[in-house]
Symmetry: C2
């Protein structure tokens, strides 16, 4: 079962930290912060959905991700590519390169990355 929008948002915070207590997570929200029970509800739902686990420590729980961000994202992006680019990563790349606001710096970086990857495959 998928994470909802706001669960995903919270998940980000957990990924960022690797682990976190509820109150720490609450901290991370920009003002106006949600009610703590709201976060608690989300945490419970996310636990039920199997995206996070926790270790009970004293009176509270330290939550941690059960799903790697890269895995979650990977599913996500492949969906996206499928949906918007007729399942062609190349189409996507093309779009990506021209339509996002990459600086020249970043383009060069990307060039490096591609080269690297090509090299990697040849050894």
């Amino acid at each position: 079962m998928k994470l909802s929008k706001s669960e995903e948002q919270l998940m980000q915070y957990i990924w960022e930290n690797g682990q976190a207590f509820m109150n720490e997570l609450l901290e991370m929200y920009p003002d106006p912060k949600p009610a703590s029970t709201t976060v608690a509800t989300l945490l419970k739902r996310m636990t039920d959905k199997g995206y996070i686990g926790y270790k009970q420590l004293g009176r509270s729980r330290r939550y941690y991700p059960l799903v790697k961000k890269s895995d979650y994202f990977s599913r996500h992006i492949n969906n996206l590519i499928q949906k918007y680019f007729d399942n062609s990563p190349a189409n996507f790349a093309s779009f990506f390169t021209t339509e996002t606001d990459l600086t020249e710096e970043q383009l060069k970086e990307l060039q490096q990355i591609v080269e690297q990857e090509l090299k990697r495959r040849h050894q």
Copy 2:
């Protein structure tokens, strides 16, 4: 206001065609097709949200997109980058390059694209 999942799906069909009548859209669904009223509901909601318009022709309407796919997608992808890659397209690119199933062919294509874009910026 954003399109929901199933509205987005329908939007794809409309983008693909440039324009379409309700019954044509219904056709495009794989079996089991939804009830025609379901599609009709979606079309109405999408119209209300301002994503599509229509031209009345005889007893029915020819719907067409009011939002370009590339624009819609652009917003989408920039969101994604922001959410998952700390607002760094380069991070994203890196991930993209290594984690999607690009063939060597496609990687080279991407290389071309980047090069092209760099060149373009220098003239």
